[in-house]
Amino acid sequence: MMRFAFSREPVSGADIRRLVGDDAAGAYVAFEGWVRNHNEGREVRRLEYEAYESLGVKEGERIIAEAGQRFGGASVYCVHRLGPLEIGDIAVIVGVSTPHRGEAFDACRYVIDEVKHRVPIWKKEHYVDGDSGWVNCERCASAAHDHDHDSHDDPSGDERQRGTGRRQAG
């Protein structure tokens, strides 16, 4: 397989495009997630990604296999950066080639949506004001600390199992 990978080095659109190129393909759709200079109202200076790499690669490959089945014959690659990134860097890139363009758009969107939802990757943002925090974690954490520290004694309870983190757009 090897269609999902983590990288500690910068990745480019040209790399991905080469991997999915095919003379029978008529359509290519690429998604790139760029490191923005702000998130939820705060100015971001840089960030770091960390992953549970072995499980992350398995889950990434599963997502890509699903996309291939759902969107006839899509050829897909996805690379996610790890380690420190600067503003404007590519954090994640998905490239899809298909015979026809509808499937390329649908498969590309499916893969990035699922990767953001399912692959164990964490992002720590470092803000211009010197503060930093793990995205999707810090607010829940501090809110919980503020009013009731005792309620975490059942991690298998409904809230933990069914609650969904705030979806990260972008």
């Binding site: 549970y52 829940c140 933990r160």
Partner: protein, 79 residues
């Protein structure tokens, strides 16, 4: 008393002060193990935590076996 290996990521790694450890636990399930460690390391309360056992997502009430590798998965934020 199963002997398990635990991997810590992201905010949990920072709270635990380590990437991983092996320990013998009185916990019978992954959920009980998390509570034991949350008390020890003062883990923050997180919504939608998941758990993986032996590199696959699993349930909090799965019984632990000797030699299991357990990882707690805080809310993810790829992309």
């Amino acid at each position: 008393m199963p002997n398990v290996r635990i991997e810590y990521f992201a905010i949990l790694r920072e709270h635990a002060g380590k990437d991983a450890e092996e320990l013998q636990t009185g916990a019978c399930t992954a959920g009980e193990l998390f509570n034991e460690l949350a008390d020890r390391y003062a883990f923050p309360e997180l919504n939608s935590m998941k758990v993986a056992i032996n590199e696959e997502f699993d349930d909090w009430d799965t019984a632990l076996a000797d030699g299991d590798s357990v990882a707690f998965i805080p809310p993810v934020a790829g992309g």
